[in-house]
Symmetry: C4
Subunit: 269 residues, 4 copies
């Protein structure tokens, strides 16, 4: 029994294992996750969801079955890990880790309507919750982990940026509201409404559903649009630096400087 | 008395003090500033401002009371600082520092209508002036100071960029005016009017309220749009470099080069 | 004969030969390729294609003649290369190299209708296939090869980005579909339809044919637009780094670091 | 006389002279150039040009007078420079330098109608030619020279980019034309017409006057828009690198590496 448990643990937890069977299982789970996301997306196309009611249902039931078994096996084998030792206490500690919660959320929308009387609107929302199964990818995806590390490392600088952009957004939208409100009272009706224009301009998306028409408003809008370039430039640079550093780290600290091609001596400390 | 004054000074001026009470006070002021900005923004939503007339008024009165007391205490205690020594002269010198002026502007809109007969339009403008209370954040915000330093350091390069973009804008808009004016005399009515198109194109916002329709105009517009990429690229690079350097400085000059991971020896000179 | 074959081989294969005649031939082929692309583009303008039926036909026949002769000569001379030795086997191995296939595809659309009975719609498609002649440029263009190298080198990082952007796109579009579907059931009709909005927003193109109108949808849209800046920032940085490195390599490894101006010693592996 | 000539030469040619009078003269010329550009722009606003006919005329005559005197004095004094020695030959050699040609073009539009019988349309075009006076700034502007150097240094890389973007534009527009033409024959009427959409998408301007409506067209459009991010990213990086290097050079090669803060030893060679 203990041997089976160890083997199951290996299948479920050792993401980078090179065992042929473990790898095949990993590919199967990842494929199933992607097919699930794809199915949820396609189900929202009415013509498809009406025509293929049964296949969609069957596939969903099959996926939930696999994910439920996976979840239960994880709960059973988690005690193999030093961190989650303890028949009950260890399992509870495991159940509240982010990855275990994601696994639970991935299957819950299927079981909930069986136990609770839910109105139709909520059930429809639950179906979209199935999209959260994409989060199960986090365990397998090296890239999402890299991105997470970058965001964590550059947290401080990104917060500076977010704060600066928010202040800029508030000031820009307030000024524009004051200038354009009398000319277009329906469009620039309040500062929160004008902030939609502000975001579209600062990010240079520019849908064209709102734009100033008065000369003063256009002058102001031009300045804000030009400042918006900075709003793009700063996080761009920060993330770029962050990625460069993170990739450097992964390549082994003895790599090559991405810029000068010099060998990098690992700094003590 | 002198001891009270010192303690008050500490509360108001020592931004990075780690005293528990000082920190609590700082959090209180910052929260109040943010709530004020939020209130001004929400007040412009007519449905909210009509429904909650009293709460908005009470909150504004309370804020002005706090900020007034804060301002007066600052005026009283500023003489503790070496720079502002002198009962009257020191206080006047303090009152004209940027931060003190911002504090004054933050409360003035409330008192002005009491002393001066103002027309309604001006009073409405004064209400938006309350947004300037966000500038009080400057004293507490590390990030705005970092941004300020970056802009100061890269001043020369940014001026080059601004100048280049302005020349490009003038030349692009003039050419486009000449090409499109006869086809769309109402839209591309003059060079200043065409500059609104120029800004929307060079910043890649592209609202879609103005665009060339003649083949020659579109050919010209395509070239200008492609040049606009450069207009984004250059300030982006400059600000990125600036931020990287500034953050490096803050981390202590003995940090790691963000690119080659080499230990940085502080250069003499 | 063998001498002629060698000379022809030189003309066709030695891209960087400095022989005056070889160079003239290279310029001739490149010019012909560009004129072909130009002709295909212009032929889609109805007024032009109706007026100049004969010149377009003559030019196409002439180009196909040149490209056919070029292809046959390449097939004949390829055995000069060590890699394709062998009268038949070597030539077959040569015929399936990417460049040889491109050369074949460039002329095939002309000959196909002669041998196969094709409907008109397919013939029209074949005419656009002539655009693929631009791929013949790959052999001569240094720059396309540089770009190819960059993409190959940064493959791993770019995949991370593409994956992240796709996940972001799926999540953003699903949320927006759920929020806006009831307000604009025709516009945000399904998740795949909403993804068109998602791409336009994340890339900051913002056509303005779809945009949220509900307050919640606009709030969500604003956050997605701001995240879109990151979607641009990350590949931008990766490609920039890649290009810098590639160009550095080409300049001879003993160049100057583009950033610190230090001489770069070639690292032993 | 020779002394006067030398003094005049100093006024006109020594851009970085610190003599008080020379500097005042420089400021005067630069101001006059900017006012000229401003006047040409404002003249296109009909309401202004009709109301202030005389002031605009007087200012133009005054400017042309100053620029003419400046041009003639330059011609007279240029022989002071070693390069333009020779009473007639030297002056001719000077007259065909770019800066001298720009000075001539700046005044010619004023004199041409006096000598040649021109139709009204051409005269109107000539008035816009006065905008070229902005090019006179080139002599005084440090920043435009920096930009020029960057573009010259990175010429090779920028050409790669331009070529890549053009190929991408041609391929993207051709595919989109083929996909969308049957659904929107008026909008996507030919490949050149579709290229307007291509530029708006690849540069992420997105006016919204043209966009695909078929599912296949939107899928293709989404991929092209995502590739467009690369089209922005690459020149951005190249220009950034170029600027960083150029600014480094100007600061004296013994400056600090913009990234690692290390002192830069000038490399021999």
């Amino acid at each position: 029994m203990q041997k089976v448990k160890k083997r199951v643990y290996e299948f479920l937890h050792e993401v980078s294992s090179s065992d042929r069977h473990v790898r095949a299982f990993r590919v199967f789970i990842i494929t199933l996750i992607f097919l699930n996301v794809f199915a949820v997306i396609l189900e929202t196309v009415e013509s498809l969801s009406l025509q293929y009611v049964i296949p969609f249902k069957v596939f969903d039931a099959f996926s939930v079955f696999v994910f439920t078994v996976e979840y239960l096996l994880r709960l059973w084998t988690c005690t193999t890990d030093e961190k989650f030792r303890g028949t009950l206490k260890g399992r509870i500690r495991f159940a509240v880790t982010p990855f275990a919660l994601v696994d639970l959320i991935a299957i819950l929308p299927f079981y909930l309507p069986m136990f609770l009387p839910l109105d139709l609107r909520f059930i429809r929302a639950l179906r979209l919750f199935r999209l959260l199964r994409i989060l199960k990818m986090g365990r397998y995806s090296e890239s999402l982990r890299t991105l997470g590390n970058v965001l964590k490392e550059e947290k401080e600088e990104l917060l500076v940026t977010v704060f600066t952009v928010l202040v800029l957004l508030v000031v820009a939208s307030s000024l524009m509201y004051f200038v354009e409100n009398s000319a277009q009272p329906k469009v620039f009706s309040s500062i929160p409404a004008t902030m939609w224009w502000g975001v579209a301009t600062l990010t240079t998306v520019g849908y064209g559903d709102m734009y100033p028409v008065t000369p003063l408003g256009r002058f102001l809008g031009a300045i804000i649009a030009l400042l918006g370039i900075g709003a793009i430039a700063i996080p761009a640079g920060i993330l770029t630096n962050g990625f460069a550093k993170e990739i450097l780290k992964k390549r082994g600290k003895s790599g090559m400087c991405p810029y000068c091609g010099k060998e990098i001596e690992k700094t003590s400390k």
